[in-house]
């Protein structure tokens, strides 16, 4: 089975071209104009086939988000907040640590840092001014660790250091993703309990951020902001030759050729990616704030942000 380059489990499943894969459960439903697709990979084997670790992947899709429709954005923030609060269990001690992955200076990779800018952090209030800290508030801290080429420090090293100091009970990672279908850029959100795995994301993290590497549950929230140019080209070619098996070899040759001539560095993205990333970062942050502060109103959250 041929694997295409996408960070969305639902696209990996679709690309496999089979109605059903043993060990993989797929559910669809729709709420408030948002299409929900849940892919549950029950077995490691099935995961290898799809190039994704075992776990739950929930994708929320709504075209209106990219068209900046107000109702669509509210619906997405609400539903994402609900699903996220279902995944975060406030059972242990310690804060929740929100991690914004990616590079602030590369627009399609800046989703994580931008979302962090709008995440309500409260941990310091408990420590510095405990008498004022609202009983209804939960402890949250946040960091945008930057990327390896800018810091010289692996993200996993940095987060592991912080985990040993902050002792969070859970981590939420926000990241830009790649997709296969242009219609999902800026209009889909994937939520997963598997964390971040190597080779995913626009910034290409080398090492996993998950319960194994960090010792606490890691939930990842991602939004596709790019298609890899080579994927697009490959797809275009497959489209042309879908019923001609003998072309497989020619396809491989051409893909290699395309990658050689710089296409490997090229991304496909909407012209309006700057405003799209800003918008979506706001939606993600709103969902995270609601999920992590269930007893505060939107107005209170807004007022507490500086």
């Amino acid at each position: 089975m041929r694997q295409i380059r996408t960070d969305l489990a639902m696209e990996s499943f679709q690309a496999a071209g089979q109605d059903a894969i043993p060990g993989v459960e797929v559910n669809h439903w729709e709420t408030m104009g948002v299409q929900m697709t849940e892919v549950i990979i029950h077995q490691e084997d099935a995961g290898r086939q799809l190039g994704k670790p075992q776990g739950v992947y929930l994708t929320l899709e709504c075209e209106g988000v990219r068209q900046r429709d107000m109702d669509s954005r509210l619906a997405m923030a609400n539903l994402l907040g609900e699903e996220l609060s279902r995944m975060v269990k406030w059972e242990g001690e310690g804060p929740v640590l929100v991690v914004g992955l990616g590079n602030r200076r590369i627009t399609p990779d800046s989703l994580g840092p931008l979302a962090i800018d709008r995440t309500l952090v409260t941990r310091h209030m408990f420590r510095e001014i405990p008498e004022y800290a609202d009983k209804r508030m939960r402890s949250v801290c946040a960091i945008a660790p930057g990327v390896l080429g800018v810091t010289g420090i692996e993200t996993v090293e940095m987060i592991r250091s912080l985990v040993s100091t902050l002792k969070p009970q859970a981590i939420i990672c926000i990241d830009s993703l790649s997709a296969r279908s242009s219609s999902r850029i800026g209009s889909a959100v994937q939520l997963t309990d598997t964390g971040i795995h190597p080779g995913s994301g626009v910034g290409n993290h080398r090492r996993a951020l998950n319960r194994e590497s960090l010792g606490v549950p890691v939930i990842a929230v991602g939004v596709p902001t790019v298609i890899y140019a080579a994927t697009l080209a490959r797809d275009a070619m497959e489209l042309l030759n879908e019923d001609e098996q003998d072309h497989e070899e020619a396809l491989d040759d051409i893909e290699r050729q395309l990658l050689r001539e710089d296409l490997g560095d090229m991304i496909v993205t909407p012209r309006e990616i700057d405003s799209l990333v800003t918008d979506v970062a706001g939606i993600i942050a709103a969902a995270v704030n609601r999920a992590l502060q269930p007893e505060l109103s939107d107005e209170e959250i807004m007022a507490m942000m500086d």
Copy 2:
């Protein structure tokens, strides 16, 4: 002859797939590590074939520019400055007006406005403090007019208004372009005496900016920052089927299909487009400043910018 979507005359010529086209002259040479390609379209007819107006198109290419090699950047700024000063004739009265086309808030379309930010303007010095205005200085003014969707005003309307007030002797337009080959993104500069024509640029100007529409010579300086995703897909498909004429129809079908599913809005661009556009805007501005202020040193120009 099939036309592909590129703003570079040299790529239109290459795409035509012929060694020679009547009425089109092509010259190649290399200086200081920069490849120069001059396409002169002598006849209107030949222009129609290439989808480009009659005139001179000079492309300077240097891969090192994109790799941020210091020597390559200096060589490019020097050569571009020389060629530009050859095109601008300081014969009439009045200032030279530099126009930065494009949208500051869309990264690959922000080249023009960014270059304007670093262009030395002097016209007000002659008017406001004539006694201090350096005799060696020439009168230059600059504007980034914004795009139709942001202003509600056609660029040509705005520039025509300014021309009637400022009475410039020449206009230099700086714009982001589209290309066909990914290797030219951020590493090639096209200089032409034909101005800007409809449908070109990343921002898609609807009406021409040229001597006909504005009444003064219009020189355009452009740098490719994107490939249209549909062009890339089309190219990939052509590559696959280069020797199969019967596929032509299938290709057209698929291209239409690709465009329908949102690809029309998608662009292909390097991941590092943010820093690339900033870098190249600096090179263009340096070349423009040298060409327009031949009697000032680089240090004097730098010191006069606020």
Copy 3:
């Protein structure tokens, strides 16, 4: 009477230190938590005393705006929109032209350009796609002309050129202002039918933008973003010596001395000026959009912006 440096007519009146000035009418009231102060300068003479042209100046003040209180922001946008729509008469033909004064690259001076980015422009829709142009829509265009040091073109020259092309029936200018009291920075808005006069604004326009210079009504909307450091120092000194008339000469000496040592270039501004200017630009744009599109809902306006 000593004049202090402020762009707010209400502060000029207060600084005059008199309960009443012949030819000046002052009214106060409060609505929805917003303090309104109307200063009407009926006579040219009285205007000279206050250093402000004859006309109406309405100041809306609400501390909650700076504290990012949601209700305060909505109240301010609503009231400002109402007052603005009262000032703009849609009697003639032609669009309304919104002008964002100031320099995008100097944070406290960037209010105008930032507000323009969020102003709904529609003029091109009437021209390009008349059959789709909504009957309920009014024709609006917008420009951020940049500042003299960046363009080499006086703002009044540029706007006058555009007026002769666009033939607007009215102009709304948005600008950053200076104030005397730190409590008004980012929390007050001044609305006036006198346009912009020389020496006002953070960017210091040299020539008036008003009905005399442009031939159409000019309404100015301004928000104080800075206090001049020399004003602050002067004020501190006056505070100390308020009952000692003999110090007047010493004060003048010291003021001159302070200005000499670079204070003339220095501004006093809140630490959080970056987010404050962004917020306030949003409020101004919302008010402008409502005033200029009274028949469109907020949702329709949002959906029409790209």
Copy 4:
């Protein structure tokens, strides 16, 4: 002795108004147009008087830096690089960790993060591609940890976590400072071996970053970007009353009054602070890169940065 609010030890010494303070050594010299002032606080007692910890403070001043004079900027980068390399001893194992303090979204506080963006990091090259890691290269990593209100994590907690993981042999902290004299804003750099102490910086770190708190040598590089408005007002008042001792009480009253009415949040800064901070961050980063990579040329450093 009255202490004024400044992060520059040389200004604290001047403000003390004495020619000599026991336990404090002051040296002046000039090189390449740069004024050097070294304040060595030999005794803790003397430090308390000046409100600064015991240690060496070197201030480099050059007005031309703020006027964007090319020679001045080069001279500053060269001298700062030399002095910095004198302070960093490469004796132990491990990388040097460069920390950019401050808030990227508050212009006068963004110096540290901006400098980090241009710091060459190499640590990952040794780890990931040891065979290619240049023998002449030294191991450097960098982080902009953000501020407490954005992360909920004290800077000292975050850096201490990283120290335990990275085991750096030294730390260089880059920060925005406050000064008393407007002439030093953007034109002076302070270098000290005492690290960062509570209450200093534009962002007001609550806890020290120094050898005591972090266990490794901490060198701080700071540039004044603001004067506190209350300091400016106080200074203006003192200037007026310098020979009138009986005003001391009145001064205190007025200072309190000024602080009450919001002046505590206000800063005094040059209008052009945006470009000034960008420029100075470039100078600091150039100096840091030279000090930390003495065997690489400027061209090699530039080429290695992405």
